[in-house]
Symmetry: C2
Subunit: 389 residues, 2 copies
């Protein structure tokens, strides 16, 4: 089942209104902030204490499945419903939030709403971002009626919890029911432009070639070698773009554009990998007499989730008899923004079809979703009963 719910579009606004109706039906106090983040507040016995915040997002990429983001938001509301049904009152308030434009699929900056809420991206800068049609974030918020009045800067919650689908194959491949997320890996993106010389594939001797496509292929092979050698620990490396020009069977590529995506849960290992591939690229380009331009297009450091929260998630999973492991998130999430202002952690739910995501085939079973949300309930409840800061 597929959806297309790009941030701050009419279909996403319909989703927002539906979720807000669910929140109100649970008697929650709903507030919308100035970047369109929506918070639903359940009272605590001591309202002056910082709340436990549960969140995620409901926007999607252009060809999405139905679980990415929504699981964490609706899972949060399910926690509220369970507490209500059991007649449980908590010391601290509990809030359930969804953040604007987590995907970055419309305005180009991912984790936008949570980054504004935690102060990493200033509100005015966020407002000024435009989509491909020239519509700004502020105009889009106004158009859908979600330009709220609540302050965009969030008072630090007591803790932040997010349930999310894994979006990868690891948990299912290992027969696991849950993942305790230890953090988000560091990311390094680089664009390379290689310039050699186009020449005739039949008449040009090997030693006189300046084959930009060959250099790109050597780099792609080295990136995989680095990922499997153990030399850079748990490095992941991907060459997704590789475009030789002119792209004809009998013409030696005179130019080649490519990208290198390196990720690691270890900042030092990623730095070492970046240094290694840079030196490798320079060496093979020089050997082939190919000129090189290189540009870093993204770079983020690792984020580590709170150890105590990880322990609580693991212990709740143990009590529920769930098979789980700790793992690092390969993708970015709102939780990595929240981690800068409060103890944060994530619970991963396995995905069928080898964890395919950003695709209508994205699927987690009701049992898999329920396991993740049960653990969320357990951990959120424990945190909400803590009197101390």
């Amino acid at each position: 089942m597929g959806v297309r719910r790009l941030a701050l579009t009419p279909p996403e606004a319909a989703g927002r209104r539906w979720v807000v109706d669910q929140m109100r039906a649970l008697d929650l106090a709903v507030r919308v902030d100035r970047i369109g983040n929506v918070y639903a507040h359940r009272r605590g016995l001591r309202p002056e204490l910082a709340p436990v915040l549960i969140g995620s997002h409901i926007d999607s990429v252009a060809t999405a499945g139905i679980f990415d983001g929504c699981l964490g938001v609706l899972g949060g509301l399910e926690v509220i419903r369970a507490l209500d049904e059991a007649g449980v009152e908590t010391v601290r308030p509990i809030e359930v939030a969804f953040f604007s434009e987590e995907e970055g699929a419309r305005f180009g900056t991912d984790m936008l709403g949570s980054a504004v809420a935690t102060g990493r991206i200033p509100l005015e800068q966020a407002y000024a971002l435009i989509d491909r049609g020239g519509v700004s974030v502020r105009e889009a918020l106004e158009a859908i009626g979600f330009l709220g009045e609540a302050p965009e800067l969030l008072d630090p919650p007591h803790a932040y919890l997010e349930v999310h689908i894994e979006q990868g194959p690891t948990l299912a491949a290992r027969g696991l029911e849950l993942g305790v997320v230890t953090g988000v890996q560091a990311i390094s993106w680089r664009e390379l432009q290689l310039t050699g010389k186009s020449a005739h594939a039949g008449t040009t001797p090997t030693e006189l070639r300046c084959d930009a496509g060959l250099v790109a292929a050597q780099i792609a092979v080295e990136v995989r070698r680095m990922a499997t050698s153990g030399e850079f620990r748990d490095l992941r490396g991907t060459v997704g773009v590789l475009r030789p020009h002119p792209g004809l069977v009998n013409v030696i590529p005179g130019r080649c554009d490519m990208t290198v995506d390196l990720r690691s849960p270890d900042d030092a290992a990623l730095e070492a990998a970046e240094a290694h591939i840079s030196a490798f690229v320079e060496r093979v380009a020089a050997e082939e007499k190919v000129a090189l331009e290189s540009r870093q297009t993204a770079r983020t450091a690792t984020v580590r989730f709170d150890e105590r929260l990880q322990e609580r998630i693991a212990s709740a999973a143990d009590q529920a008899g769930l098979r789980y492991e700790r793992l690092v998130s390969g993708a970015g999430h709102d939780a990595q923004e929240m981690a800068s202002i409060c103890p944060s952690a994530m619970i991963f739910v396995p995905g069928e079809n080898e964890g395919i995501s950003h695709n209508p085939r994205e699927l987690s079973t009701p049992e898999q979703c329920a396991a993740g949300v049960s653990v969320l309930l357990e951990v959120a409840l424990g945190l909400a009963q803590e009197e101390d800061a």
Copy 2:
């Protein structure tokens, strides 16, 4: 200086008429055959003997230089002019020809005119070829007024000689003034479709990837290794097409189309190289769990030019004090078709700008051209004075 003179178009017809005028000005008897090949005949003292044929082509690719083909045709007319000016009569007739659609750039089949003249391609099959606009060869010949009446099948000449630019960097790189062409290398083209699994570059562990782009890169690197290892003698290998899909920085390529162009002056070495790369492709595809479809899109065996003619060219070059070497042609030429019906050989002239061709920067100096044509004159004259078959 660039030209665009696609076969049997109005610009090429203008070129044909200009060359025919040159031929008539030299008092040659011009005949046009049924595939539009044009032959200019200079009488011999013994008209019953088979003529010495000098030829090449005047059609061009879409973005061509001015030397490719024309040098051989106008060089042939220069030989006639030199003989006339010196008052030399020859025992055998000498003919100068230009063949239709050598490039294959309009109707998709290269060496078309010479292949029809030597019987490899039947006339009706050649007539039926169409260009992108649906115009047939026959219609195009009629439209430009070059659908001749002379029989298309050529009576075997005494010998065939062709002067051509090298279209590669070898002669210039070695400081040579002439190349004695030993033959045309064998060519093998293959198209590969690799199908793996598109997946998230961040969340998919290395050991669970089926990266079609990586397999393509491994093949490209192996093709170069084969060309430099010595294992397959003078193999040339090129990967000109390599298209990973979807081609996004953070998506593992789930599909990749590519081509492999292998060439060798040694048929056995090319067969060994084909077998080696096929086995390599199957192995690396299986290792990455990538499915493979493979299709041979071109395959020709080597052509060897006549040894005795090569000797005569070398000896004429020696007498003229020219620095020369023997080399294999990397590209196809009309001479390889003629070689099937008579002793044939080619003389290569070096090119400036690293031998760039099919490009307006294509350039051979007047001195380089004159050296090649002087040797052509010497060899053609010797052959035209031979009484024996």
